[in-house]
């Protein structure tokens, strides 16, 4: 401690030392407790992750063991309430993969082009109006997207494609695409803004047009940020439950664009309220599978973000 190195005049020294020692003794104890408390607070995030992981593994494994890993992951039929229940989640996995891929295919180009618009093309004042609006899009609760999808998109699909019910993979893809737009826009815009101006100026000076500069210089320079945006979008889309629960129809068919489908997330959500026994355990197993998906995506995202920081 710093106090100890201070030198006092000899006459006062004894008394002063004594006083300081008792004072710094209690102070020292307080400092130590506070440090411990803060350490515990810091450690709690790790503890939460551990608790979640352990709980999911402990409650997810029994059903997998009972059903059999291959039957569980590659079984094509999910009939949890049938007399002879079947717990194959391949349709759920494929639906989640197709749904996410579809949302990315629609959402990423639109989001990226919008980011180019906001970052490079739009006059400052226009961008300043649009940006908060995009933020608002990000803040709208997912269940509201589900409601609008249910009331607008579902009837539209029913009538356009002449199907019995409009609740379908297509409706889910559109809702997901809209929901991932804001994060794709804002992350890619940040990446595009971070491209050094010199790159663009050099390109312009060499005779490239502005558009060529944006797509052939700025975008490649911002590619790891844009990749991060895509991965973030994948994470959002694969984890969304409530919005697509309202528009997907929730029947565990093999995925088809116009048929009613069930995602990994909605697979949990639909039955969580009333399930019991093996059925319930199977839901936790689905949770475990979903969790593994998400962890992989997180790791990939971290890699891209780190690249972005270094590059």
């Amino acid at each position: 401690m710093k106090e100890k190195s201070l030198s006092n005049p000899p006459a006062e020294r004894n008394q002063g030392d004594l006083r300081r020692q008792t004072k710094s003794g209690s102070k020292h104890a307080l400092e130590k407790t506070m440090k411990l408390i803060f350490f515990i607070c810091g450690f709690i995030a790790i503890a939460f992750v551990l608790v979640i992981t352990i709980y999911l593994i402990i409650s997810g494994l029994p059903a997998i063991r009972e059903i059999g890993l291959v039957n569980f992951l590659f079984g094509t039929e999910w009939a949890s309430t049938a007399k002879e229940p079947k717990f194959g989640i391949l349709p759920l996995i494929l639906t989640s993969v197709y749904g996410t891929a579809g949302a990315i295919v629609i959402g990423v180009p639109i989001g990226f082009l919008m980011a180019v618009f906001l970052s490079k093309v739009a006059p400052r004042r226009v961008a300043a109006i649009i940006r908060p609006v995009v933020d608002l899009l990000a803040g709208i609760p997912s269940i509201v997207y589900g409601l609008v999808g249910l009331m607008v998109l579902v009837p539209f699909i029913r009538e356009t494609f002449n199907t019995a019910a409009g609740e379908s993979l297509l409706a889910s893809i559109v809702v997901l695409a809209v929901m991932i737009l804001p994060s794709i826009i804002s992350v890619s815009e940040t990446a595009l803004n971070a491209v050094p101006r010199e790159y663009e100026e050099a390109s312009l000076a060499l005779g490239a047009t502005e558009i060529e500069t944006y797509f052939r210089v700025s975008a490649p320079a911002a590619k790891s940020g844009i990749a991060a945006a895509v991965v973030l979008g994948v994470g959002r889309a694969i984890g969304e439950a409530m919005a697509i629960m309202m528009v997907a129809g929730n029947v565990a068919n093999m995925p088809d664009l116009l048929s009613s489908v069930r995602f990994l997330t909605t697979g949990i959500a639909v039955e969580l309220a009333y399930s019991s026994g093996l059925q319930r355990q199977a839901l936790f197993s689905i949770g475990l599978v979903l969790f593994l998906f998400i962890m992989c995506i997180n790791v990939i995202l971290n890699v891209f973000l780190k690249q972005d920081k270094e590059g």
Partner: protein, 298 residues
């Protein structure tokens, strides 16, 4: 950038047809995409307000649902939402701020810091349906809280923790090192320095964290649907003191929306709840932005 000048220049230059086509098509695509997004947003908001506002009245916002009085209302849902927000914040604020303080002020072990940061990022990336599972498993069942508002609040604590940690950390980082050195140099201990110098200078970051967490809580539906119950009746939180406080259950706003839309197919009321949710979101966004600006000025 001065686009218009460049545009004119582009035209004047003698480009090959393919290059001109590329430029034209890409520019058109940029405008098209932007127009789609803006149109989508305008449509979304207009549609929701158009469907929702006609049913919105003071009575709807304040009264409870009752067959006898023939009233429909989301008064209980609003109160429950408030309850969950407050209960969550009371727990998550000390935890999150404490963790941020540990990370920026105390931690010396780089491995531990990166482990905590990785854990925080992981928590931020876990989808809410997984939190719903955890909430049901851990809080409602293992800790025997049942389907109560408090079980929902505890689950939301885990969910909002990363937000609070991150915003607090950002604002702690902006407190100049000289403040800390000045305080330590005058002989104060580390905790005293944090309490009197560091925390007051980063209060706006902490408030931003609060606001963002509130936004997350208000918009959350998956977790709450399975942890707080679906009752739309008014609760008396103080009837039996603490006991009724901890055993209270009932739907929050987003759960009420789900109940109206999916269980009762009463879509007009669902849209009214949606309007309320969007207005709250808007207010939260504006507040966060306002604070952010103040934050930057400093």
């Amino acid at each position: 950038m001065a686009n218009h000048n460049h545009n004119a220049q582009d035209m004047a230059r003698n480009f090959s047809a393919s290059r001109r086509a590329y430029n034209g098509v890409m520019r058109a695509l940029i405008y098209l995409a932007s127009a789609i997004v803006v149109a989508l947003l305008v449509f979304l908001l207009c549609y929701i307000f158009y469907r929702g506002i006609p049913n919105l009245s003071l009575e709807f916002l304040t009264s409870e649902e009752s067959v006898r009085n023939d009233t429909q209302g989301i008064g209980p849902a609003i109160l429950n939402t408030l309850y969950v927000i407050i209960a969550t914040l009371i727990v998550v604020l000390p935890l999150g701020v404490g963790a941020a303080i540990y990370l920026t002020e105390y931690a010396t072990n780089r491995k531990l810091v990166s482990a905590i940061e990785f854990a925080t990022e992981t928590l931020a990336g876990i989808p809410s349906i997984i939190y719903a599972l955890v909430g049901v498993l851990v809080f409602a069942e293992s800790l025997a809280l049942g389907k109560t508002l408090i079980a929902g609040a505890f689950t939301l604590v885990i969910m909002t923790l990363p937000t609070v940690i991150r915003t607090t950390q950002e604002s702690l980082k902006t407190v100049p090192l000289s403040y800390r050195e000045g305080s330590l140099g005058l002989g104060s201990g580390k905790w005293h320095m944090i309490r009197t110098v560091v925390l007051p200078s980063s209060i706006d970051g902490i408030i931003t964290g609060c606001i963002l967490s509130i936004g997350r809580i208000v918009g959350e539906s998956a977790v709450l649907l399975y942890t707080v119950g679906m009752s739309m009746r008014m609760q008396d939180f103080f009837q039996n003191g603490l006991e009724s406080f901890f055993s209270a259950s009932g739907s929050t706003l987003s759960v009420a929306l789900y109940v109206y839309a999916k269980v009762r197919a009463d879509f007009d009321l669902a849209f009214s709840v949606a309007v309320v949710l969007i207005v709250i979101t808007l207010v939260i966004n504006l507040a966060a932005k306002f604070l952010g600006k103040k934050f930057k000025k400093k």
